[in-house]
Amino acid sequence: MNIASDEPDPVYALAATPNGTLFAGRRSGLFIAANGTGWTSLPVEATPSAASSITALAVMPQGDAVFVGGYGYVARLTASGALQRVSVLPRPLPLVTALVVSPDYARDGVVLAGTAEDGVFRSIDHGEHWAPWNIGLLDHRIIDLALSPAFAVDDTVFAATETGVFSSVNGGRSWRMSAFPRDDDPALCLAASPCSAQDVTVYAGTEGGALLVSRDKGRSWCEMPGVATDGQPINALVCIDATTLIAGLADRLLLIEGILDPCPRVVQETACQSITALTCLVPAPDTLVAIVGSADGQITRLRLR
């Protein structure tokens, strides 16, 4: 699947709703593909800057709406793509790089936005008002955010930065450094295991190609054995279930199984160019489809099983 364009139009973010509708955030704006067919541009108006780039996406837990982030704002759209609200972030306008929505969004209204230079912004009123919460966050360059699957109970959230991973146990209001084994290796992506409500298992991919795992709410990290990346940056991670992880490297996509075992194994390796964004669809219990976005603007569907 490709969107024709004269200029490079990198894909910054991808998201899928439970009913299979896909959203893509690109330099040129927001695109939607209902039922995975045909991409249509969606205008996001009344934004505080002229830049049209959509740099972050997050689907609400029930799949009935999607949050999109760009330069200085977070907008909320319905699952069909109708714009509901644009909320401007406090000045100086930050560039949103990551968005996460609380699994208990309907009750707590918590949405977090990671930014390129300004740390983490937090909203507790369903994304209407935002405030920076950077206490303990010594690195403000946020690359990715991930929530604990039990966020509604444990308030745990992780932030990937240029100097490692920070974690928060109070819903993103204060942060603490983790013992990240690679200080000089920026963490590029995070994925929390959806089945680890007790211990909170979280995975991190780094620029140096290390795939790291923490099984203690991000306090300590270790490298996952058995996953050869040849030093290629791991740009995107998606945790499908307790045993399966998909990693998007700069040059290929890896399907890794047995991630709870002492030695996980790569069961499928697919060549892909410059992966920048990744999301997954599970149309049937035994089917897994990866949607891969790349720096050159390609969006590809790959059937993994």
């Binding site: 000045r91 230079e117 920076p132 950077n134 206490i135 303990g136 403000h140 100097t163 204060s174």
Partner: protein, 537 residues
């Protein structure tokens, strides 16, 4: 007043000393436990001043600068200074220490009267003190999460609303965060979180004062000149302004020692025309070393290089590398804030770690306080807790209470908590074994066993129960169980959420044990003709 210096030897010296200790311990005893009783302290002088209602052992001891009974005065002052020092260091545990010290001294003096040797007793007491501290540390569990912190805060300040606020503030700010306690305008307790590194510093000129509400100047994407220079020449300042614009900054923050009128005029013109909005503030800190530390920390946070006069730096020699950058800066008449600096995160982390290690390795309270503030600023946020009571006396009592609770909660977050302070001390009796089976060793063990039971006895009695019967019941309970004086039931203290900071208990045990070991070796007391009032320890 004695007409001439007066010397008393044993046993009279010990008798009088013990009388003073007993007097002071009896004043502090009612403040122990979750149901403290107050102590009303009359104003020292001045007609019409309100008496103070206090329930903090440290503050009560500070108010007692002299006893009318001159012979007992040295004993009372000995306790006063022990308690005050403890209050300065950990903020709490003063009544616990006083009660244990009194018990150790009573038993020790009996033992000496029965033939024990004071020096051998001292050695045994010192060894046992360390064993008890180790046993306490072994019982510690980490303090985590808002509910647990709130429960510990409740045991410190009784007021559930204050405890809930402190639970939230400490959960967010952590042990090393900057927490300021100020008097508020509305009755009750309020809290506010301020982003960035906040320093006390004045805007240099009234021209920079703003009429807007709140009275605060806000700048975005500002370059920061970090210096302690006196800026007299507007040409030098112009160079800094040109560099700021060349660096892509939209505003300028000047940290300097002094600005001439000429330089101020230049800043003001550019501020009014919008060419380069700016403000100038004085170097934060009163002492020189404080100022140097502030400049270095700002440099790390903003990615600049400080221009220091000791190093012969001049503003005319400023380069792009000297300029720090922040995403947001603000200043009002008393404070300046710098948020989201452009400093290298690795350098910030390294500085943070260095300061944290320096904090861990020093015991000097003022040094620890300074380091605490620096760590808090690097941490990127500040919490302001505002407290207000119905009267000035109530407000100051609440401020003192909140400050003490914050200090203790910091210690609890660092070192952990034990299930029930009184119960934890009782459990330590099992660790009290004499190194050698001599008579003095046995006596020291017996002294410590009684002293360790004393706080639980007082807590129970203060809550209105029969202490003797309850302590006998506690003896048969498993570890971690105790008597909850709120519900009046025997319970698992951890499950009931009755937690006490282990650092406070260890400090109290050390203070009581060390002071008792020393006091038992007193052979004579010298009374001066006109003894000075006891002021500072």
């Amino acid at each position: 007043m004695f007409r001439r210096p007066h010397v008393l030897f044993q046993p009279a010296a010990q008798r009088h000393f013990l009388r003073g200790v007993r007097r002071m311990a009896n004043v502090l005893r009612p403040t122990l436990g979750p149901f403290p009783r107050g102590v009303l302290v009359a104003p020292e002088r001045g007609i019409g001043r309100e008496p103070e209602w206090l329930d903090s052992g440290g503050l009560i001891a500070r108010r007692m600068v002299r006893l009318a009974d001159e012979c007992a005065d040295p004993g009372a002052m000995f306790v006063r200074h022990m308690v005050w020092r403890l209050h300065e260091e950990v903020g709490d545990g003063t009544a616990t220490a006083a009660v244990m010290f009194h018990e150790l001294l009573e038993q020790g003096m009996r033992s000496i009267a029965a033939g024990s040797d004071p020096m051998r007793l001292r050695r045994h007491l010192d060894a046992l003190t360390e064993a008890i501290c180790t046993a306490l540390a072994a019982q510690a569990i980490p303090l985590e999460g808002r509910p647990q912190i709130t429960r510990v805060a409740e045991s410190l300040c009784v007021d559930t609303y204050i405890a809930a606020t402190l639970g939230e503030v400490l959960d967010i700010m952590g042990a090393g965060g900057c927490i300021e306690v100020r008097s508020g305008l509305r009755p009750g307790i309020e809290r506010e979180y301020v982003e960035g590194a906040v320093y006390e510093s004045a805007i240099l000129s009234p021209r920079f004062e703003v009429e807007s509400t709140p009275r605060q100047i806000e700048l975005e994407q500002a370059a920061v000149v970090i210096s302690d220079l006196e800026v007299a020449n507007s040409h030098d300042l112009l160079r800094a302004m040109e560099l700021a614009l060349a660096a892509g900054a939209r505003a300028l923050v000047l940290i300097v020692d002094h600005l001439s009128d000429e330089a101020l005029a230049l800043l003001e013109v550019n501020r009014r025309t919008g060419a380069l909005p700016s403000f100038a503030v004085r170097v934060p800190g009163l002492r020189r070393e404080e100022q140097i530390a502030a400049l270095e920390d700002v440099a790390v946070l903003t990615g600049g290089i400080p221009l220091r006069r000791e190093a012969g730096a001049m503003l005319s020699a400023i380069t792009l590398a000297h300029l720090g950058q922040v995403r947001r800066a603000w200043a009002n008449n008393t404070h300046v804030g710098l948020a989201r600096g452009n400093g290298d995160p690795r350098t910030v982390r390294s500085r943070f770690e260095t300061l944290r290690q320096a904090f861990e390795s020093t015991d000097n309270p003022p040094t620890r306080r300074d380091l605490q503030q620096r760590i808090g600023r690097l941490n990127g946020g500040n919490a302001v807790v505002r407290v207000c009571g119905a009267t000035a006396a109530e407000t100051s009592a609440h401020i003192a209470l909140v400050q003490r609770a914050v200090s203790v909660l910091r210690g609890a977050l660092r070192s952990g908590v034990v299930p029930g302070g009184g119960a934890a001390l009782l459990a330590c009796r099992q660790a009290v074994h004499a190194a050698s089976a001599d008579r003095d060793g046995e006596a020291a063990c017996a002294m410590w066993r009684r002293a360790l039971a004393a706080p639980a006895r007082v807590i129970v009695a203060n809550a209105g129960y029969d202490a003797g019967a309850i302590i006998r019941m506690l003896d048969s309970l498993p570890a971690g169980h105790g008597f909850d004086v709120r519900s009046g039931r025997l319970t698992d203290m951890r499950c009931a959420g009755i937690l006490d900071p282990v650092a406070t208990l260890i400090a109290a045990v050390r203070a009581a044990g060390g002071s008792a070991a020393l006091a038992l070796t007193i052979e004579a007391q010298v009374y001066r003709r006109s003894p000075p009032a006891s002021v500072e320890p």
